[in-house]
């Protein structure tokens, strides 16, 4: 075997992935299967639309591995769609305007906003620079304040230590991750 026999493609990952057309086909099949399952469950249409949008957003970066501006565009588009669905749905879900309940809704929305961006905006979100760390700091501070408001109904030890520990876990989870 000579070294002439070792061809490589422009994108090294291509040798390990499905062809682009196969990736698209698998994604479409997964969408159809998802829609089929939702139609069998027979939940209200608005709930089904929200779940389907979030599902489509979660599945996209896992299945579609092509790297081009369209992939990034669609990925961010799905992020926006999923967030719009989650926010609209959460607002209709609110049944109590109690400050502690509102804190929990805010915490849920904050977690979903960051985690979905983590998942869908991987190509643009990975930057180890000052701005990212400042962003993580601000988000963690917001997380701490709202969690503190919710936990303040309990014993002070639960309030203080619970808020600190959960905020550390939150900050650690949202820190940018190295691809390798």
């Amino acid at each position: 075997m000579s070294e002439e026999e070792f061809p490589i493609s422009k994108r090294l990952e291509d040798a390990y992935r499905f062809k682009t057309s196969t990736q698209i086909l698998i994604y479409l099949i997964s969408l159809v299967v998802g829609a089929l399952i939702l139609s069998i469950i027979n939940w209200p249409l608005t709930d089904c639309i929200v779940i389907f949008t979030v599902y489509a957003a979660l599945a996209f970066p896992v299945i579609i591995k092509v790297e081009n501006p369209w992939k990034i565009g669609i990925s961010l588009g799905l992020y926006g769609a999923a967030m719009a669905a989650i926010i609209t749905w959460t607002i209709t879900f609110i049944e109590s305007f109690n400050l502690r309940s509102i804190s929990l809704y805010v915490l849920f929305l904050e977690i979903m906003t960051v985690e979905l961006l983590h998942h869908l905006g991987e190509d643009i979100a990975y930057k180890e620079d000052k701005k990212i760390y400042i962003g993580v700091g601000i988000l963690s501070a917001i997380f701490f304040i709202f969690l503190y408001i919710f936990l303040s109904a309990y014993d002070w030890r639960v309030t203080v230590f619970g808020s600190i520990i959960a905020t550390i876990i939150f900050a650690y989870a949202i820190l940018p991750e190295k691809p390798i």
């Binding site: 499905f18 081009n68 799905l78 879900f93 915490l107 650690y172 989870a173 820190l175």
Partner: protein
């Protein structure tokens, strides 16, 4: 009906707006491409270059070139040494500290490949941690639909007065995601950057044998009897979906009965090619594909159209 229409409209508008933002963000930067082209065309094989050389070749302002080089440096594409810059070999994924260690131990050899074994990644028990999230979802569903009244009553009992159960369930769902993500980060950081594998042009293969090792494992290039590439079914399936493809590279050493197995190496085919090249004593393959490899690494910043 109005609720349904407003939901569909908000999803559509958000999709369109964010997609346009995504397309705008991923638009290629012609200045960045010019600089990458200038470096790849003129300074391959770790040749050092000064910022003024790039200014001269590209015709861009010094400030602009400096800013672009800083971005390339932050992404590990170029390395700054004093006033000079140097292209980092595209198949080197080591941290700067480990890269310096590798240079020192290989006596400043030309390092063609450097990465870490990832012993834990494609194991079923690693993936099993996502069961924690499944348990979280099961808890939320059973309370929401009151499947186990005792559980629902317990949740109602522990919640402060006036706090919505639904809000608490959504929060629990969110915390499940955060907990699994943090756990995933802990396991990855534990597994990552521990077992270096370095392939040098003259020094052959150097690798860490244990956590505290300093590349004591050595396979001289003349001692390589054979090299093989192996993917388990799980690795093969995972490679379709995970960000960085992995596989096992098996090196048979002359006079040794047991082969050396590098587990879950990133870009295993390329490692195989590099080892084959040094075994054959010819870097023709690498030279021929140097530009392609370099452009691939740099393209991470400039997505192909």
């Amino acid at each position: 009906m109005l609720e349904l229409i407003s939901l569909v409209i908000s999803i559509g508008v958000a999709f369109g707006t964010c997609m346009l933002i995504g397309l705008k963000l991923s638009k290629s930067d012609p200045d960045l491409e010019k600089v990458i082209d200038a470096i790849v065309s003129n300074f391959l094989d770790e040749r050092k270059f000064h910022i003024n050389s790039i200014v001269e070749i590209t015709g861009l302002s010094k400030n602009k070139v400096e800013a672009i080089l800083k971005r390339l440096e932050a992404r590990g594409i170029v390395r700054k040494r004093g006033n000079m810059y140097q292209l980092v070999d595209p198949l080197v994924f080591l941290t700067p500290i480990d890269m310096e260690r590798a240079r020192r131990i290989t006596k400043d050899d030309n390092i063609l490949y450097g990465a870490y074994q990832n012993p834990y990644l494609p194991r079923l028990y690693f993936l099993a941690m996502y069961l924690i999230f499944a348990a979280d979802i099961a808890f939320v569903i059973s309370v929401f639909f009151n499947i186990f009244p005792g559980l629902t009553n317990w949740v109602l009992k522990i919640l402060p007065e006036g706090v919505s159960v639904n809000a608490f369930l959504l929060f629990t769902l969110g915390m499940g995601i955060i907990f699994v993500d943090a756990l995933d980060n802990i396991i990855k950081s534990w597994a990552r950057e521990k077992y270096s594998v370095v392939v040098g042009e003259k020094s052959g293969i150097s690798y860490d044998k244990s956590l505290a090792d300093e590349l004591s494992g050595k396979i001289r290039r003349g001692a390589i009897a054979d090299v093989d590439l192996q993917f388990s079914l799980l690795q093969k399936i995972l490679n379709y979906f995970i960000r960085v493809p992995v596989g096992d590279v098996i090196v048979r050493v002359k006079g040794e009965e047991k082969p050396v197995v590098f587990k879950n190496m990133p870009y295993p085919r390329e490692l195989f090619y590099v080892i084959r090249s040094i075994q054959l004593g010819s870097l023709g393959w690498r030279k021929r594909y140097a530009r392609t490899l370099m452009m691939w690494r740099a393209r991470a910043m400039v997505p192909a159209t």
